[in-house]
Amino acid sequence: MKGKILACRCEDVTLHELEDAIARGHDDIESLKRYTGFGTGWCQGKSCLALCARVLAAKGGDASLPFTPRPPYHPVSLAHLAALVADDDEENEDSARDARDARDEHDGEDAPT
């Protein structure tokens, strides 16, 4: 049957492209990913990685390790992540205040009575 077999649907990488890349020597998951771009789209490999690893192993490549998964696991908006920054600032202020307090206390102890 003719037609495209999609190895990675988010980035439109075909099985043919994948096999071509393996034939060119990209025969481990990481270099195969870097060359074809599979697994770099919206789903970050959730739907394509297993299929690509299976194809690679069948072609005699090294599929022992996946590419490195990195956060966020699931798409998240910058508006959501902004809360982490606000929280960090607060923590920094807290620790700066703690440091100030500690210093004041220390100064107090050293001060001649």
Binding site: M1, I5, C43, C48, A83
Partner: protein, 437 residues
């Protein structure tokens, strides 16, 4: 609601995606390079199929978003019209695919023109209409034990750990607890495991949920784990509510598995979807086709085929090995099967595939787990207690590691009795860890 201005009627607490499919709207977006049509394929937040623009906001996963009155939905990435996307021509010009390392590269002038064109047409949707206010607060949760995933494994673990007197929080990205149990049609009769009796999926789910609740477990819905923070806290996205940060002595990943994807022609065609997705849609009241071809003989395929036939669908069956591909220009109109030394065309309006699921190993590896590669995918390696080593050492079964994995994420099949046995060993290890604090 409206889709590109046309009225869509939804009822109950359906997801946007199921409301769209119910209204016959299967083709929702276009793929980035070839502008091939896209439609829902997993119904569990693991693919690009159901992305829509919602109220001026691009890239909303419609399978994970509740339908709401007055919602204004628009298709994304469509050039000209949904039915006739002019950039689909790229799909036909390049029957094998494109090698972007070589095509138009290094040709002065042409390269610049192609880059500027690619910048314009590639990508996902357009920027939001309005600026979005930043969230400023994080919901901080503390528990003895955090369980990620409220599917069969997560619920079984919550019951065991709750009964041991531990404070348990269960995070799940779904609207209701159940995970893949909710990917079976309602009241499906299934044998979950080799020695498992046939159970009613919804009775089992209801029993586990109420048992976990009476054991004191707290369920946090619509919260997707994003990753591990410095210091070991885990960060989740509580969807509309903002971020959730969980501090827990022990962390258990019961995140299940991704759909198996078959390497068949037009595996991305709208109407080709996993048996779990078809089951979930049916549970939400939507039959994906009047004449679906159900491929494979796994639990989900069997349950969906039986339920669809019960709803009056003309169900055809085929083996996974015999499926060569799907046919249709913008949605499934048929399939091609191997028969003897030749092929056979069948007419169908959906191809429902049950291929072996691939463990969702990603979060565990981020936390320091090792994986092994097998036919269905990468499985998290755990010791006899279900423990995996924490970063940075990566030692499997390090006695001090507070990290555990249970269920399909470890490569196990959906098996109630086996999960219960594993959960009871895991429970003893977790209890010892929390007491030793």
């Amino acid at each position: 609601m409206t889709l590109d201005g046309a009225s869509i009627v939804a009822d109950g607490d359906a997801s946007l995606a199921s409301a769209l499919v119910a209204a016959g709207q299967l083709e929702l977006a276009r793929s980035p390079k070839f502008h091939r049509p896209r439609g829902p394929s997993c119904m569990r937040g693991g693919c690009d199929g159901c992305l829509v623009r919602l109220d001026g906001m691009p890239n909303v996963m419609s399978c994970m978003t509740r339908a709401k009155p007055g919602a204004k939905l628009e298709r994304q990435n469509v050039v000209l019209s949904a039915k006739l996307d002019v950039l689909r021509a790229a799909d036909w010009f390049f029957p094998d695919g494109m090698n972007h390392h070589e095509m138009f590269a290094g040709v002065p002038g042409v390269q610049d023109i192609m880059q500027s064109l690619a910048r314009r047409v590639a990508g996902l949707g357009e920027l939001p209409e309005h600026a979005v206010a930043a969230h400023t607060a994080i919901d901080d949760l503390t528990a003895d034990v955090l369980i990620v995933g409220a599917g069969l494994a997560g619920l079984v673990a919550a019951c065991v750990l709750g009964r041991l007197g531990l404070g348990v929080i269960v995070l799940d990205e779904g609207m209701r607890p159940g995970g893949s149990l909710l990917s079976f049609p309602e009241h499906a009769k299934v044998a979950l495991g080799v020695d498992g009796a046939i159970v009613d999926i919804d009775e089992l789910r209801a029993n586990l949920v109420s048992e976990a609740a009476s054991a004191g477990a707290t369920f946090v819905a619509e919260t997707t784990l994003l990753g591990v923070l410095e210091g070991g806290d885990w960060l989740g996205n509580g969807h509309d509510r903002g971020l959730v940060r969980v501090k827990a002595r022990a962390r258990i990943l019961a995140v299940g598995a991704h759909d198996g994807v078959p390497a068949i022609v037009a595996n991305d065609l709208p109407g080709v979807l996993s048996a779990r997705a078809a089951g979930r849609l049916l549970r939400e009241g939507v039959l994906i086709g009047d004449a679906p071809l159900v491929v494979g003989d796994g639990l989900h395929a069997e349950a969906f085929a039986a339920a669809a036939a019960g709803h009056g669908a003309k169900v055809q069956r085929a083996s996974l090995a015999s499926l060569q591909g799907a046919r249709g220009l913008s949605r499934v109109r048929g399939a091609v099967l191997t028969e003897g030394s030749g092929t056979r065309k069948v007419s169908c309006d959906a191809v429902v595939v049950d291929a072996p699921c691939a463990p969702s190993f990603e979060l565990a590896v981020e936390a320091g787990a090792r994986v092994t590669h097998g036919e269905p995918g990468f499985s998290v390696v755990v010791d006899v207690d279900g423990r995996f080593g924490g970063a940075p050492s990566g030692d499997v079964g390090s006695r001090n590691s507070p990290l555990f994995a249970l269920g399909e994420v470890t490569g196990a099949a959906l098996d109630h009795a086996a999960f219960a046995r594993a959960a009871s060993r895991l429970g003893r290890a977790v209890a010892a860890l929390v007491e030793a604090r």
